[in-house]
Amino acid sequence: MTAKHAKSPLFTGSDWDFSLINRIYDTIEPIALKEMGLNIYPNQIEIISAEQMLDAYSSIGMPLFYKHWSFGKQFVTNEAMYRKGLRGLAYELVINSDPCINYLMQENSATMQTLVIAHAAFGHNHFFKNNYVFKQWTDAEGILDYLEFAKRYIAQCEERHGQLAVERVLDAAHALMNQGVHRYPRVRPRDLKGEAAREAERQAYRDRIYDDLWRTIPTGARAAAVPGEARRAALGLPQENILYFLEKTGPLLQSWQREILRIVRLIAQYFYPQRQTKAMNEGCATYTHYRIMTALHQRGLITDGAFMEFLSSHTNVVYQPTYDSGHFGGFNPYALGFGIMSDIERLCREPTEEDREWFPELAGCGDPIEALKDIWANYRDESFISQFLSPHMIRQWRLFQIVDRASESEMRVDAIHDERGYRRIRRALAREYEIGRQEPDIQVVDVDLAGDRKLMVEHAVLDGVPLDGGDAAMVLQNLANLWGYEVVLKEVDAESGKELKSHNSVPEKNWPR
């Protein structure tokens, strides 16, 4: 660009139409792909109304989903909040699929549509396609097909076995959803597309080999009890994926119930990467839209007024309230991600002595985009923070760490933004984003399938924080219903191995089987 304001702006008012969206997209595309070098799935942009956005909200943002009352609950909550004006709706929703589906609200102004396209269609899209966690765990191509299958399958189950029976299984599975995730990668990637065919094949096989005669065969003598170690090894215990364990081993479950557990489990697995990369994902999208919008403005493609509108919305998004401001609710993932990423840009371009010492490889390298692309591809929140939270950021945000010990009457400030504190703060903040710490470590440790079939579950208590008792009892009830026999949950201190607490639960009599 030789002269500033060489071109006329893309739009002047706030109105938009489809040809304008096309032009905006065509203008942004070369900036994102050529100048920034992003690598994205093809985009599909869908314009939806506020009502449809509410609908999408209540099914965790997915365009199609099976039916369950809890989504209705989500819906009435969101609707009530929205109608009262307590909460606005998101400007966009983006789905990690191939092609990447972007929902844009029709109420957005032209500036907002530009922002949203830059944010979702390029920022999030690039992150979905390139980040290793997503690559490892999700199948962007197959997800919509799989949801379609899940929806149809569950509807069929409702027809066959009754709505209530299906609902009870789903309730129980939802309660254990967070325990339905494989946390360590296995070699075999998931082929979600084949699920439907596989299930149909199995059903056909079951129908074919069905013979009433089997019922009449007398049961033989019981097999001798297997010794503990061998038994656990045979069952793949200990197992942290409780839903997986139930699906494979649950003695009283019927095949359709297993399939439902599998559906819930696979969907939980699909969302697992998103939980680990909130700050990075939003940071990547926010950084991308900021770059793109600034580039558009510099070239005179959006007016000063539109740029002001963008800035006002952007600053709202990356606002981080301080801990004592009254509306502090944890770290804002947009602010944290964008903050660290712009800091990386700064230290790539104009490093200080301190930056050279802390980031010898990045400082002064002069190419922030390449550095960031590498980061977007190879990190998740925890490793991202523990590597790239700079002393500069810590000072700027005036971060401090407090430690609250059960044995002491007061809390203690353990580190502040000074030489002694930087590393400690960085480590502590990264730990907060460690998924293993956000969620309790719960594993199935033992079961005697030949004996009383009691299921033993263990919670490895970290830092002396036990499970929330009321909820734990309810979840355990659900687990017992699925398992069909007694379930015992022991809370064992992770360090000392001492048993702190124990809950147990027996299945309800009237649970549909």
């Binding site: 009352w69 209705g72 009530a80 004592d324 401001s325 059960a406 203690r412 502040i416 002396g464 929330d468």
Partner: protein
């Protein structure tokens, strides 16, 4: 990049989930609806509105760590003057180091809006109305729809195929669109000439001409559509408004000390149901509240249901007041008059003659319907049912026998309210009576 416009897709995707949610929380929602009746005016009964249920009724449990206890570390932004090693008092509330903020699943109330249909359904269900009657009340507008010719725009389901095809055909004829028969004939001839082995001398020119004609026909067929958007015709419907009718409903209630809260609550439900019923049948319904002890007064709804006045009981005073109001504001020629009276039946014996006289001579002749509801204590339902009759009941009994538009019932429980209306429903609604 594709752009897809989804705005016109059918909405209400969440409707099923919403219904399932309501079914799931039905017991709680029903209780909430019952409670919210206290705060609603009977005129507002069939509006949508907020209700609140306890959150734990629909709680979705997960395994998560407790909010308190144990050793915790936390990094926070915005340090002002803390130094390393400073000690801070543990905050007492949820905020601070101890809270895992953000999931918002407290033990607070869960508030959401019910639509008018949902609210009514639950309300009527509570009164144990038969489904058919419920249908009639909830059923919404019964405006008639009738065919009104054809239009060029409309809903695809209203597409009139025969009209559309007719128009398409006349357009094709007018524009001389070659038929598929024309095309087939020419192609046949081409094939015939091509197949001829020893070619005739003028075959080449003939073939040339035929081919040109064929391409001309194909072009015309492409240009002139078989069915064009201009051909589309839709069946048009229009709604036929029903004749406007207005009604006034008088609520009469004894508010002397002997009326308990339970009785008033029963009376309120009764009035509410009648009001609901009338609003279905009439475009415009006015409600007049008259309460009485030994003197009667016209009051607003709030006073009517919730104030207590001490005094004796003279039912005739209320009927006189009723007469007075009718004479003043509601000419019987212009208004359909409904009277609903609720009382515990306590009355002065000496007043009965006058009450019956007023009812027979002055009120019943100008009213569509008079209902007398005797409310009793819930706990005495069995005993009272056996035979003890109150003074007012005895007085009204002959009136009810002589007049078809007078109905009286004893009610102890809310489920007994509906039978009072049964007669009305059996006669296929008030609308036909008043027509």
């Amino acid at each position: 990049m594709h752009i897809v416009d989804r705005r016109l897709n059918p909405g209400g995707k969440s409707l099923v989930n919403r219904q399932r949610f309501l079914r799931r929380a039905r017991a709680y929602v029903q209780q909430a609806v019952r409670d919210s009746l206290k705060d609603r005016s009977i005129k507002d009964l069939d509006k949508d509105g907020q209700i609140t249920i306890r959150r734990d009724a629909i709680h979705e449990p997960t395994l998560h760590r407790a909010a308190q206890g144990g050793n915790r570390e936390r990094v926070l932004p915005g340090n002002h003057d803390y130094m390393e090693g400073d000690r801070i008092k543990r905050p007492s509330g949820g905020q601070g180091a101890g809270s895992q903020a953000g999931d918002g699943e407290g033990n607070d109330d869960f508030q959401f809006a019910l639509s008018r249909e949902e609210f009514l359904d639950l309300f009527l269900d509570d009164l144990e109305l038969p489904d058919l009657a419920k249908q009639r009340l909830i059923g919404g507008k019964v405006d008639g729809i009738r065919r009104a010719g054809y239009s060029v725009a409309g809903n695809p389901s209203n597409l009139s195929v025969s009209r559309t095809m007719q128009r398409a055909m006349s357009r094709r004829l007018a524009l001389r669109r070659p038929s598929s028969g024309d095309l087939a004939r020419i192609e046949e001839e081409i094939a015939e000439i091509e197949a001829r082995d020893p070619a005739l001398p003028d075959d080449a020119t003939r073939l040339e001409a035929l081919r040109e004609e064929r391409s001309h026909i194909i072009r015309r067929r492409n240009l002139i559509a078989y069915i064009d958007p201009v051909d589309l015709r839709y069946r048009r419907f229009e709604t036929v408004p029903k004749p406007v009718a207005q009604a006034v409903m008088f609520c009469l209630m004894d508010v002397s000390g002997s009326m308990t809260e339970h009785m008033k609550d029963l009376a309120k439900r009764f009035f509410a149901l009648l009001h609901l019923f009338l609003t279905r049948c009439y475009e415009h319904v006015e409600v007049v509240f008259i309460h009485h002890t030994d003197r009667a007064a016209e009051v607003d709804e709030q006073t009517f249901f919730y104030s207590t006045v001490t005094g004796g009981t003279l039912v005739s005073s209320a009927l006189e007041k009723l007469q007075e109001v009718i004479a003043e504001r509601f000419r019987p020629d212009d208004w359909n008059i409904y009277v609903a009276q609720a009382s515990d039946g306590d009355t002065m014996q000496s007043d009965n003659g006058r009450v019956v006289g007023l009812m027979n001579d002055a009120i019943l002749p100008i009213c569509q319907y008079v209902a007398y509801l005797e409310v009793g204590r819930e706990e005495f339902a069995d005993i009272e049912g056996i035979g003890t009759t109150t003074g007012l009941w005895q007085a009204y009994a002959p009136v009810a026998e002589a007049n078809r538009n007078f109905v009286m019932r004893k009610v102890h429980h809310r489920r007994e309210i509906y039978p009072v209306f049964r007669e009305l429903f059996q006669r296929k609604g008030v609308a036909e009576r008043s027509a």
